[in-house]
Amino acid sequence: MKVSDSFDIGEMDDLGRLDTPVHRLDARAKAVATLVFIGVVMSFPRYAISSLTPFILYPVALVSLGRIPMRYLARKILIAAPFALLIGVFNPLLDREPVTAIGSVAISGGWLSFGSIMFRFLLTVGAALALVACTGMNRLGAALERLGVPRVFVVQLLFLHRYLFVVSDQAAKMKRSAVMRSSGRPLRLSVYASMIGHLLIRSMDRAERVYRAMVARGFDGEVRILRPSSFGWPDTLFVAACILFFVSARVWNLADGFGRLLTGGVL
């Protein structure tokens, strides 16, 4: 994890605070729709590519209506790509049976399934990032709690998110000072251990101070979460429309039908 990555979260939070039609939807509706989306996308057979293309509409619509900068999301998706790429790239090597042909060029099953993996990666990661960027962590946390996630865990998520910047900031400062003092030589294990140890002890002290401050403000062991939004009929409509679209795109190959229409053949 790079230093810049953790500050990136701040940008995600800024996006989460925007006020657009998508942001105004109840967080539960978006979370449920996104989970259904990912499940449906992953339920396609391994060689599916063209039948998956209509699904890109969902993240594109979220991102566009939510006014999320496309370039920012694309960068995040690229950063996350290596794992799927590393595992998926073996498919073309292992599965060389020709499965289909475009004109006279035969295409092996491995390349098709590799393409399918990478396209699914784009869809699922894009949808997940779009969900967070259009919702923001606080609303998402409240939604998770109302969807039945244990409160202790939701509070843990919100606390972690809140202190991420604070502790990362401290780590970045320590790192910078270590680099300046060691004139660029890499850290030895002994130096590393005392740096991380100090960071750990400082974090624990901070937790103790936070706890005292919380007790001073009446904390009784129970954390209350604000629940600003309610599940209205636009949210129901959104979920229903999304699921209807996903299911019909799963059952019928919309892209193929569209292609036949365009190539003018009822094949």
Partner: protein
């Protein structure tokens, strides 16, 4: 080691969601009952610490590479297994939400692989047993390394099993295991070194921090949870995989059977193949009526009007598929641009 959604089938992902969700609920219950009120901010900030500590690397002499703290072991040493598991789960969730590091469907797998093994296996069953009550230097170092290696090996093995069970990657079990396990052996040694060094430092500078870990007497009673989890897993896994096998997987296995890929040599594939045979016979919808043996394949497309998107070996289907796919993508782009053109607040956050 974070798994991505693109390699997981819904059956595997859903099953692991249930497993990890059950563990989270169980641990949350345990933490709620704990007497330490300050556990709430402590857990949150230590989660942030795990993130932050991964920004700092140390160099491994003679290799030119670097390593950092993994997190699971040291959290368990400081917080006990239940709270540590919750913290790891929250760290992985935030990584999935904000960094696309591991996907949402794969979140259950990732929480299990990276949270369960260090908190409930490596620390209580290996580290504690090896260290005993004395924190003697060489022994503690050896214990940390063995525990970190064991935790990561189990996690890596479970990544291989989950990927294999999903059947989206073509990598055979043996090859994938040979790829993953040695890499994680090395990572485990490095993580063990880092953990031992930090624990040694904390033991010197703030010994009471380590002594405060609750549940260190090994009171991890797991029987009731394990039984419930096993039942839930069987039910969900069974239902989900039955559903999945009648639709995509059965089809996929049948095709693998017909085309006879080179996986045949691996023993795992042998099991798969015989299972595929059974499945092809017992499947409710026998592959939508198109058995893709070479001669019939071209005909199949006409016979299966309701079947989806199978790129059968027919140039016609391929062309319409490719054209349709391209046009759909283009259409999606245009829709995106149109939606963006609507008047409204300017987007912020762009650099």
């Amino acid at each position: 080691m974070h798994m991505a959604d693109a390699l997981i089938s819904p059956a595997v992902g859903g099953t692991m969601w249930v497993v990890s969700g059950g563990l989270i609920a169980y641990c949350a219950n345990k933490v709620k009952k704990s007497v330490r009120d300050n556990l709430v901010p402590m857990m949150g900030i230590l989660g942030a610490f795990i993130f932050a500590s991964q920004m700092i690397n140390f160099s491994i002499p003679g290799t030119g590479s670097s390593g950092h703290l993994g997190g699971g072991l040291i959290l368990t040493a400081l917080l006990g297994p239940y709270a540590a598991f919750l913290v790891m789960a929250s760290v992985l969730t935030v990584q999935a939400f904000f960094f696309a590091d591991g996907g949402l469907l794969a979140l259950g797998c990732n929480i299990f692989n990276l949270g369960f093994f260090p908190a409930f296996v490596a620390y209580p069953l290996i580290y504690r047993v090896m260290v005993g009550e004395r924190r003697g230097a060489p022994r503690a170092w050896a214990a940390a390394i063995v525990a970190a290696v064991a935790g990561l090996q189990l996690g890596a093995l479970s990544v291989v099993l989950e990927t294999r069970a999903s059947g989206i990657s073509d990598l055979p079990f043996g090859t994938f295991a040979l790829l993953m396990l040695p890499i994680h052996l090395a990572i485990g040694v490095v993580e063990g070194l880092a953990t031992a060094a930090v624990v040694a430092f904390v033991a010197k500078a703030r010994p009471e921090a380590l002594a405060a870990a609750p549940g260190r007497t090994g009171g991890v009673s797991f029987r009731p949870v394990l039984v419930k989890l096993a039942i839930a897993t069987l039910v969900v896994g069974g239902v989900a995989s039955w559903f999945a096998s009648t639709h995509p997987d059965g089809l996929e296995w049948a095709i693998a059977k017909v085309t006879g890929k080179e996986e045949v040599t691996s023993p795992e594939a042998g099991v798969h193949k015989s299972l595929a045979g059974i499945q092809a016979k017992t499947a409710l919808l026998p592959d939508y009526g198109f058995k893709p043996s070479e001669g019939e394949a071209t005909r199949a497309e006409g016979e299966a009007p309701a079947a989806e998107a199978w790129p059968a070996v027919s140039a016609g289907t391929s062309v319409s598929g490719v054209v349709g796919g391209m046009m759909t993508l283009a259409l999606a782009c245009i829709i995106g641009i149109l939606l963006r053109l609507r008047p409204g607040p300017r987007c912020c956050g762009q650099e």
